[in-house]
Amino acid sequence: MDPITAIMGLIIAGILIIVGVHLIPVGGAPAAMAMATGVGTGTVQLATGAGLTGLVSAGYMYHIAGVPLLYVLLSGGVGSMLMLGITMLVGNLIYIFGVGVPPVSAKVKYDPITRDRQDIYVSPGTEGHGLPTVSYVSGILGAFCGGVGGSLTYVTLHEIGLSIQLAAAIAIGFFLANAVIAAYNIAGTIEGFHDPKFKRLPRAIASGILVSGVISGIIIAAISFAGGVV
């Protein structure tokens, strides 16, 4: 793979990761007390958990199954979607049966997908709870983008000559770097694509292009000085 294609691949992967993190509904610490809509954990941690599950799936497909690149990337996306889909579903089970609250958004009056009324189901003194359909679907899309982004990073790094171990380690670091940029932009909680904070996405993408470009430039330069293979 030539250096320009590799840099472009990594930049596209970085953008996919940033878009994915913005789509994943995260309620942070307040969601753990059913005070905010979304999954009750941190943005970077959840996205990384999903992304790395996808990376394991993609790594298996890439090396063992010998399928075209498209299937490797799709498999990474599917692995991430499964991780986040099941996590959000079990989270909702606990909200509904363990806490006794319906999944509801506090950012919109009607769910954009199901058209269900939201505001009267938000318990007093909270900013929503659980994962309504719009947040769930947004999370699934986010996990897919994150999984494809993580897989594309790994495949690109391996194609330019890095060993399996090094490519996987750098892919994890690359994922975290982009996820942290997205988390700074989100600043705490986001419900999904219907959340007003989602409109901040372009500036995170701009930062991500810069960061991904610098990281990929350093990697390509290091490989060039090391004589082709690191």
Binding site: A29, A32, M33, A34, M35, V39, G40, T41, G42, Q45, L46, G49, A50, L52, T53, V56, M61, Y62, I64, A65, G66, Y71, L74, S75, V78, G79, M81, L82, M83, G85, I86, T87, L89, V90, G91, N92, I94, Y95, I96, F97, G98, V99, G100, V101, P103, T114, D119, I120, Y121, S123, P124, G125, T126, H129, G130, Y136, I140, Q165, A169, I172
Partner: protein, 298 residues
């Protein structure tokens, strides 16, 4: 490549290990009060609620479990390369990780509570004595199962990533799952059992956690007893399902079909989630005070 029946057996073993690991991880985070619900334990003395709950937010759960799993896997790998039996290597590796876990838990508890002296929160040495083995023991079980899972994936299913890196990745994943699912039961329900069932925590009650137990003063072991009824097993099932379904589709189907099956499972998950949402809305109904304030009707 393995034949399907052998592959399915291996995937079932991985799913079982993941289920035990998930439940143990969540209960450990309840005994130690790690992760997001600990924000309320940390806040409690500042609003005048003194308590005997353990308090050890060493870090977020994903980096913490990535750390323990990596230590355990590294020690196990060193022993395995010295021709030590695999299971013995796992036991020793998990034990070393548990020692690190115990050291971090102790310093985190002492450090956090020492910083709350100005609010009159005492440091209870017996809380450390009573909880530490429970924390280390549950951490040991979770780490051991992650090693079993990672080794199975690496040695039997021939995953190309190194064993230690797989343990690191599953450590991050299990932490993310534990703090997303089981901890909600601890934070939303157990910490605030003095609030009515069927509502999120009103922001006005932040920090006012329950400090009385079923008998006597509440400890974090009481919290683990409560969460073992729902939050812990739910976390275990969650992680077990993820490991089982993700590997099942690649073992049973050819690679192209595995992707399509993955999309089909995701579609089913969305449908189940929607059915649950409709059930909850119909069963619980809207909040009367919100209907009075905002107007009812769909």
């Amino acid at each position: 490549m393995l034949d399907v029946s052998t592959g399915l057996g291996i995937v079932a073993l991985m799913g079982a290990a993941a289920t035990i690991a998930g439940a143990a991880e969540d209960l450990e985070s309840d005994i130690g009060s790690q992760s997001n619900p600990n924000s309320q334990v940390q806040l409690a003395p500042q609003v005048g609620v003194l308590h005997r709950i353990f308090n050890k937010a060493i870090s977020g759960e994903p980096p913490a479990y990535a750390f323990y799993s990596s230590i355990a896997a590294t020690v196990a790998w060193i022993l395995m390369t010295a021709n030590v039996n695999v299971i013995t290597s796992f036991v020793v590796g998990s034990f070393v990780a548990a020692l690190f876990h115990g050291a971090y838990a102790t310093t985190a508890y002492l450090g956090r509570l020492a910083s709350q002296r100005r609010y009159g929160q005492p440091i209870y040495l017996d809380v450390i004595h009573n909880h530490l083995l429970g924390i280390m023991g549950h951490g040991f079980v979770a780490t051991f199962c992650i090693l079993v899972l990672s080794y199975t994936l690496w040695a039997l299913l021939k995953h190309p990533f190194p064993f230690v890196m797989l343990a690191f990745i599953w450590g991050i994943t299990i932490g993310a799952i534990g703090s997303s699912t089981g901890d909600v039961h601890y934070g939303s329900e157990r910490e605030f059992q003095n609030q009515p069932f069927g509502a999120g925590l009103n922001a006005a009650y932040s920090g006012k956690i329950v400090t009385r137990a079923e008998i006597g003063t509440r400890s974090s072991i009481d919290n683990a007893w409560f969460c073992a009824k729902f939050g812990g097993p739910a976390t275990g099932i969650c992680f077990g399902l993820i490991i089982f379904l993700d590997n099942w589709r690649t073992v049973v189907f050819d690679p192209r079909m595995a992707v399509i099956v993955g999309f089909a499972i995701v579609a089913i998950l969305i449908a189940i989630n929607r059915a649950l949402e409709v059930f909850a809305r119909k069963t619980y109904g809207p909040y009367p005070e919100k209907v009075a304030m905002l107007g009812g009707g769909e």
